[in-house]
Symmetry: C2
Subunit: 295 residues, 2 copies
């Protein structure tokens, strides 16, 4: 398949690499140029996003935020300029659900199909081809693109119409942040009450308190290994998106707002680059106590 | 073993039943008398908690709240009056960790041992003998009582010294409440954004957002089956305990406070007797939207 890939950064480059390795013809374009490793593997560098769209049948975008997608698709020299009827645009960035529906409509108006297909799993998942991919869009289009998704990810779900993929990603980031907050409040409480937080975690893992976060992130808190992982600065971006979208949709997210403020507290103390499990530090500051297990 | 059991309500009666079935001699006392079924099975009814303590070697208490334990142990005709050196008091109620340490010290001063051993798993777990039991106290005492615990529960952990069992139970109730809140915010957001909340839940179950609560309680939200389960009124009691203990310990629990307020909002709308997954109704009220899946 002739695939275009716009945005070849930390996530995009390994994802594009998986597609080339699977035998697809790849046309790339990125703000900082196409990485040499991809060129060596056979990728063709294009000057503009429009050129990518002229050459490829499926055009994937993987850029930081909603305005970046808007610019890459509809700005000067953008994808829209190079599209012709029947092509497919797949936005794998994590951006706003509401704007995504507008982008899809504008692409549809050009006689093309649109999928929103944000991922989770980070750089590790991108390199291993094990990303979770949450997709919104028409089922037929999903089936056409699925062989590409299957090279980049493992857990691939068509959730609903355009916007549903981005909505699911936001829901994911809300739950992950709040489950980190849940574990943080519980462990700081338990530790300050004099219990060994490591044993408390162990006792809770069999019951209703169990979660992927209790398994993975609580251990990072106890071992004080806050190297990312997933950076607080990125989770702050995702929760900003959640809270802005919630305002548009008229939904109140009280605990998400708390989590965002606590991330800001950790960032204010120099922790923006730490793993998001370092949210616990905000509660530790407030309690003047660290969740250190007994030896 | 000669076992005393004080508090033979919804939880205590089936727990005591497991002990009789296992061949232990049971001395019972309860505010509303010893249930006929236990008497038929061979239990001996005592007039006072002191009498229970005079007859039994291990005295278990299972009553609603901290003041009830104080009264049953140290009030007139209470356990302390009937204790003699070498006996063991096991409080399986869910009460305050700080007061628990005081109770243990007073029992120790009488030459006796104390375990705090609160449970989770509810009436269903009590009847099936599959409770989770979180224990604080001396290891030797734990080993002595373990054969009794094994008749009442499955997942039995000695977490630490006296108070650690109650601390773990509080930590459990904090995480469960906040994971319910996490799923509630995510599903109300997703549903109001136009995605099918059932499909969003399905897509999230493979990744970092997964939890026992996403598996069990999110399904209750989607199916609108809010019959308990675990009543909001009881979870309100547990979070009140968490917040009061946190104040004593100087720990800030911002999101636990939010969850408590949202439980109050559901209770204000007549929902105190609903399952705690009905917390979602507070967010639905605020968003004027219900998380109804597509047909």
């Amino acid at each position: 398949m002739k695939v275009g890939f716009i945005g070849l950064g930390i996530m995009g480059a390994p994802m594009a690499g998986q597609l080339i390795a699977a035998g697809h013809t790849l046309y790339g374009q990125s703000r900082s140029g196409v990485p040499q490793a991809l060129l060596d593997a056979g990728a063709t560098a294009c000057d503009t996003a429009a050129d990518v769209a002229r050459n490829a049948d499926v055009i994937i975008t993987m850029v930081p935020d909603t305005p970046d997608v808007a610019k890459v698709l509809f700005g000067e020299g953008g994808v829209a300029e190079g599209l012709s009827a029947g092509k497919i645009v797949v936005d794998m960035s994590s951006i706003a659900p509401v704007e995504t529906k507008e982008f899809a409509k504008k692409i549809n108006d050009l006689g093309c199909q649109y999928l929103d297909a944000p991922v989770s799993g980070g750089e590790v998942g991108a390199k291993a081809g094990t990303l979770t991919i949450m997709v919104g869009g028409p089922e037929a289009t999903f089936e056409t693109v699925k062989p590409l998704f299957e090279k980049m990810g493992k857990n691939i779900t068509l959730v609903g119409e355009n916007g549903a993929g981005q909505t699911t990603k936001v829901a994911n980031q809300i739950i992950v942040a709040l489950n980190i907050l849940a574990v943080s409040e519980a462990l700081v409480f338990a530790s300050k009450a004099g219990a060994d937080p490591a044993k408390v975690r162990q006792a809770l893992m069999g019951g209703f308190a169990n979660s992927k976060i209790l398994e993975v992130h609580a251990e990072r808190m106890l071992k004080r290994t806050f190297n990312p992982g997933f950076r607080i600065a990125l989770h702050q971006k995702d929760l900003a998106l959640a809270l802005a979208s919630a305002k548009q949709l008229e939904v109140a997210l009280p605990s998400t707002a708390i989590a965002q403020q606590l991330f800001s507290a950790v960032a204010a103390n120099g922790g923006a680059g730490l793993d998001h499990s370092a949210l616990v530090k905000a509660l530790e500051l407030q309690a003047a106590h660290t969740v250190t297990p007994e030896a």
